[in-house]
Symmetry: C2
Subunit: 226 residues, 2 copies
C-alpha cells in the first residue's frame, strides 16, 4: 500500500526548545488544534491502542495522526487502513525523540485548518522523548503489563511528565508478575496527579474510558480562553 | 539491603568514542576480561535472564555485573541476592546510553584482575545504546515476545550491531501475535550473521543454550592472541 505520506524529519535548528515548544502551543491554540504526545516503550501497543481509540472518537471530532519512527512505515499504514483517518509517517533519521521543531515539520504534513485533534505517536523510548517538550497540549504514555510494574522507578522523568498513563495488555495480567496496586503507587510517586487508565487494546476492555478522557480533554481545552 | 555499590556515572569527556572504545577493548584484552554489552527495551527481562544465566555459569568462570539505570538500584540488588556474584549499579544521571568512558567508570568499580567476564546491562532503550560503542567484546540484546516480531524493522541499528539476539518470554507466545519464523527473518534482514536463541527466563527453557553460548564466547576470545 502506498497510501501514507512519509516525511523525513530534519534535525532541529532551534537552540531553545522550550521557547519553541511554547510558540508551537500558541499556534495550535490559535488554530484550535489539540496536540497529544503519546509515548511508550517499543512494543507496548501504542498503535493498537490508537486504532481502538480513534474508531471510538472519529465520528465526534476531526483528527489525524503522526507516526514517528526511526524507520519503516508500517504503523502509519496500519492506522490508515484500520480507521480511515489521515495518518502520516515521520522518519527521524535515527534520532531517538522529537522536539518542537521536528513536531512542527510533521504538523505541516497535516490539514491543520480542519482538525480538532492531532496525535503524535513518538519514538518508542522511555528515556529521551521525556526530555523534549514537543509543543503538545498534553503528554500521555502507555505502559504494558509485560514490561513490569517497576518501570516508574526506573524511568522517573517519563512518568513525571505524563498527565495520563494507560496501562495496556491487562488481558495477560495472569501470566506476568504485575501488581496493579503496586504499579499505581509507583506511578503516583512520580506524578501524584497522574490519571491511570487500565485497558486491553486487544479485547477492547477499558477503551471507552480512553475515548471519554480524550474527548473531554479536547472539549475542555477548546472551552478555555486562548 | 545496602549490599550493592552505586556509581554515579559522569558525562564523557572524550570526543572520539570509537577510538576510546577500541582502547578499552585492548585494555580488557590485556587483563583477560571479556566484556559483554547487553541491551534491550525496558521490561524485556534482562535482569531475570541474567540471573538464570549467571547461576548456570558462575562455577565455570569468574564474573561480575554492572547494572546501568537512570535511577533505582533494584536490579543490582536482585542480581546480588539471586546469584551471589559481585554486582554494581551505575546511575547514568538521566543519560539514555553508556559510551566507552562511562563504561570504564563502571569497570573501575569491579575487581577486574580476578575476572573472566564482566556483563554490562545497558539502559533499557532500543535506540541510543546502539549508537555508542561501549568497548565491549560483543553486543547482545534481548527481544521479548510481547514486544512483537516487527521490532527489527523499527529499530534497525540495534539489530544490526548485535551478534546475538535472545528472544525471551516464549512461554507466553500463545497469548501474543508473535511469529517466530517472521521474527527470525526480520532479525536476519538486519544482521545475516545474528545468533538467535529463544528462551523463557521465567521457566528456564532455552537457558542452557544461553549459558553454552556465553561460555564458548569467553573461551574462544581467551584463546585468541591479543
Amino acid at each position: 500500500m502506498d497510501g501514507v505520506r512519509i516525511i523525513e524529519i530534519k534535525k532541529s535548528v532551534f537552540e531553545n526548545n522550550d521557547i519553541d515548544a511554547n510558540n508551537l502551543r500558541k499556534e495550535l491554540k490559535s488554530k484550535g488544534v489539540y496536540l497529544l504526545n503519546l509515548m511508550s516503550s517499543p512494543g507496548s501497543g501504542k498503535t493498537t491502542t490508537l486504532i481502538r481509540t480513534i474508531n471510538l472518537i472519529k465520528d465526534k471530532l476531526r483528527l489525524a495522526v503522526m507516526e514517528a519512527d526511526i524507520d519503516s512505515d508500517v504503523d502509519a499504514i496500519k492506522i490508515k487502513e484500520a480507521t480511515g483517518v489521515d495518518s502520516i509517517q515521520l522518519h527521524t533519521g535515527g534520532m531517538c525523540h522529537l522536539d518542537a521543531e521536528m513536531t512542527r515539520q510533521g504538523l505541516e504534513g497535516l490539514p491543520l485548518e480542519g482538525l480538532d485533534l492531532a496525535i503524535l505517536e513518538n519514538v518508542g523510548n522511555l528515556v529521551c522523548p521525556a526530555e523534549f517538550d514537543t509543543g503538545s497540549c498534553s503528554n500521555a504514555m502507555i505502559l504494558s503489563v509485560p514490561e513490569g510494574d517497576d518501570k516508574p522507578l526506573k524511568y522517573p522523568l517519563m512518568f513525571s511528565v505524563c498527565d495520563t498513563v494507560i496501562i495496556n495488555k491487562i488481558d495477560v495480567m495472569d501470566y506476568f508478575d504485575f501488581d496493579m496496586e503496586r504499579c499505581r503507587r509507583n506511578i503516583l510517586s512520580r506524578n501524584p496527579k497522574a490519571r491511570i487508565i487500565p485497558v486491553s487494546a486487544k479485547t477492547g476492555e477499558g477503551m471507552e474510558a480512553v475515548a471519554q478522557w480524550l474527548l473531554e480533554e479536547v472539549r475542555l481545552w477548546k472551552a478555555q480562553k486562548a
